[in-house]
């Protein structure tokens, strides 16, 4: 009896020091493994985000012999007196307000079309996805050509209407420039969200559809009562990603219109790049970035709140 209880007592402290050592070594190795990623994220993400806040209150320029000085709210007062800034905000909101429902809805229609168990469905998925793989720069260039007054789009319109309707100079007219960019952006991005919807559709159990069919539900009823509620998590994801992408509208503008005609397509990010990079006014651009950051954060938080699980 005594030897039995004595043995573990003698062993316990020995075993504990061994595990503490192993634990400490495990912690150190883990830290070593995580360090490169953590350091890179701090240097190239955390610091610049913090700088967006700090630089916005200074007069920093990209290349300047004098160090940056604190100037208080001067950048913001200048920004709120800038008529182009309000146009940028309005155009960005306009783009997002049309693109989010249009792209999300069309992507869902595509997903329903390629979710059917018919032959060649993989082929269609691939084709719908091709523009996503194509870079936005190439897409913008290509559509700049297609949107010309004498371009392919107007030829197609003219053919389909048997010559009764002549299309405008899409990108040269302030009334049609933004709609043209919206259409092209949806064309490029819709395939990506089709795949996300498709993944959501495939998580809905088939038994639910069978049960609905037995109850005599019409396809529309099945969509409303089985498909739509089953896509709740996917819906939030799709809405948030499209919204953030829509707010970040830049490449299309830079390549296709440079904000014109008459500032009808200038956006917040485009204006930030133009002042911050082209005109080297880093601090002013940081102020725009900061407002953009707050805007994106607010909208995605509101969206998350509105689409939250209501239990």
């Amino acid at each position: 009896m005594t030897t039995r209880t004595a043995a573990p007592e003698r062993l316990r402290p020995v075993r504990r020091t061994r595990t503490t050592n192993t634990r400490r070594r495990e912690s150190l190795t883990a830290l070593g493994m995580a360090t490169p990623a953590v350091v890179l994220l701090i240097v190239f993400l955390v610091v610049p985000v913090a700088l967006a806040f700090a630089l916005a209150f200074t007069d920093a320029r990209l290349i300047s012999p004098t160090p940056a000085r604190f100037v208080g709210l001067r950048n913001f007062t200048r920004l709120f007196e800038d008529p182009v800034f309000y146009k940028s905000l309005r155009n960005t909101a306009y783009f997002a307000a049309v693109v989010v429902p249009l792209q999300a809805g069309l992507a869902l229609v595509l997903a329903l079309l390629v979710n059917a168990k018919v032959r060649g469905v993989n082929f269609f998925r691939t084709v719908y996805f091709l523009p996503v793989v194509t870079s936005m720069v190439v897409v913008s260039l290509l559509w700049t050509f297609l949107y010309r007054k004498d371009g392919l789009v107007n030829h197609v319109i003219s053919t389909l209407t048997l010559g009764h309707f002549q299309g405008p100079d899409w990108l040269g007219d302030p009334a049609t420039a933004m709609p043209a960019i919206i259409l092209m952006s949806v064309w490029q991005g819709v395939g990506f969200h089709m795949i996300i919807w498709l993944a959501g559709l495939q998580t809905i159990p088939a038994e639910l559809y069978e049960a609905a069919e037995i109850d005599g539900a019409t396809p529309w009823h099945r969509f409303c009562h089985v498909t739509w509620p089953g896509l709740r998590a996917t819906r939030t994801f799709v809405l948030v990603t499209i919204t953030i992408a829509a707010f970040s509208l830049f490449t299309q503008i830079r390549v296709m219109t440079q904000g014109g005609p008459l500032d009808s397509t200038t956006t917040v990010v485009y204006q930030a790049v133009r002042t911050g990079y082209d005109q080297q006014q880093t601090a002013y651009a940081a102020a725009i970035s900061l407002i953009f950051f707050v805007l994106v954060l607010t909208v995605s938080l509101v969206q998350r709140f509105l689409t939250r699980e209501k239990d």
Binding site: A34, V49, A60, L113, R125, F129, V273, Y277, A286
Partner: protein, 290 residues
């Protein structure tokens, strides 16, 4: 009868949509082989999408003569592939430490990393430009090394900011958690260290995750435009997407622009079609988890 009709109309819808998505890209490729006057001449008919008339590689050869396209291509291949390789190593190591090892603070680190996912690059791109311009740099200056500041106009400024990626870490983390932890214990009994477990057990089992992260790192690196536009001035350091702006300064014909666009797009599209199934599936699965 009605179900057959419905199926046919569904198929017609799919075909029409497929044309809408494919024809502009087909137009780009076909036009790259045509002289400019024929591109415009064909616009009014279906010939616009068909490889008919005078076809030649002239646009391609002219393009290579007018701009250093080969150099742009080489730069993009270099930048994208180094970003992909470093990204896989750095992010998988971090994810390994976060998902399979026990150390104080790992939950907090993971939470902070996932939280950074909602910050779009565009919101801090400009402060980042200012910031990389302040960073120290060791430059080869003739026959000696010199410390200077400012990473503008280098290869590293096009690679390093995109190596660590919160999404890749998150994705590896999810995948590593599905690999049984008993494997680690068995390996430790056999005297293996953690790095050996990472290199010999976990990574060889993570092929699909590595492929997904590789694709999702390569595509944005290859397609990136905003960042190189701001940090690269020298012609010899430009990637393909910024190289395009060359054409507008030179005011060349559309045939050459279509040739350049096809050259930087078609290989990527071909790769995508080849790996289409696993690619689409991987995006689909990450979408649900995200």
């Amino acid at each position: 009868m009605t179900s057959l009709l419905k199926r046919l109309s569904g198929h017609a819808g799919r075909v029409v949509l497929a044309l809408v998505f494919a024809l502009p890209l087909l137009f780009m490729l076909v036009s790259s082989f045509k002289p400019d006057d024929q591109i415009f001449g064909d616009l009014g008919s279906l010939r616009a999408f068909l490889p008919v008339g005078t076809l030649s590689l002239d646009n391609y050869t002219d393009m290579f003569e007018r701009v250093p396209a080969a150099r742009f291509l080489l730069n993009s291949v270099l930048i994208s592939s180094v970003t992909v390789v470093l990204g896989i190593i750095v992010n998988s190591l971090a994810a390994f430490a976060l998902s399979r090892m026990r150390w104080p603070g790992r939950k907090l680190v993971l939470t902070v990393i996932i939280a950074t996912l909602i910050v779009p690059f565009e919101t801090f791109a400009l402060p980042l430009v200012w910031w990389v311009n302040q960073l120290p740099l060791l430059r080869v200056n003739g026959f000696h090394l010199a410390w200077t500041t400012g990473w503008m106009d280098t290869y590293q400024v096009q690679v390093l900011p995109f190596v660590a990626n919160a999404f890749s870490i998150f994705f590896f983390h999810q995948f590593f958690q599905s690999i049984p932890k008993e494997l680690d214990e068995a390996a430790i009994m056999d005297g293996a260290g953690w790095f050996t477990i990472y290199r010999r057990i976990v990574m060889p089992l993570s092929g699909p995750a590595v492929a997904t992260v590789a694709i999702l790192t390569f595509l944005p690196a290859w397609n990136s435009y905003l960042w190189p536009l701001m940090v690269v001035q020298s012609e010899e350091l430009r990637p393909v997407m910024v190289g395009i702006s060359y054409f507008f300064q030179l005011n060349v014909g559309w045939g050459q622009i279509m040739a350049y666009s096809s050259m930087i797009t078609v290989p990527i599209l071909a790769l995508f079609v080849a790996f289409q199934r696993s690619f689409v599936n991987s995006i689909a699965s990450t979408g649900v988890k995200g």
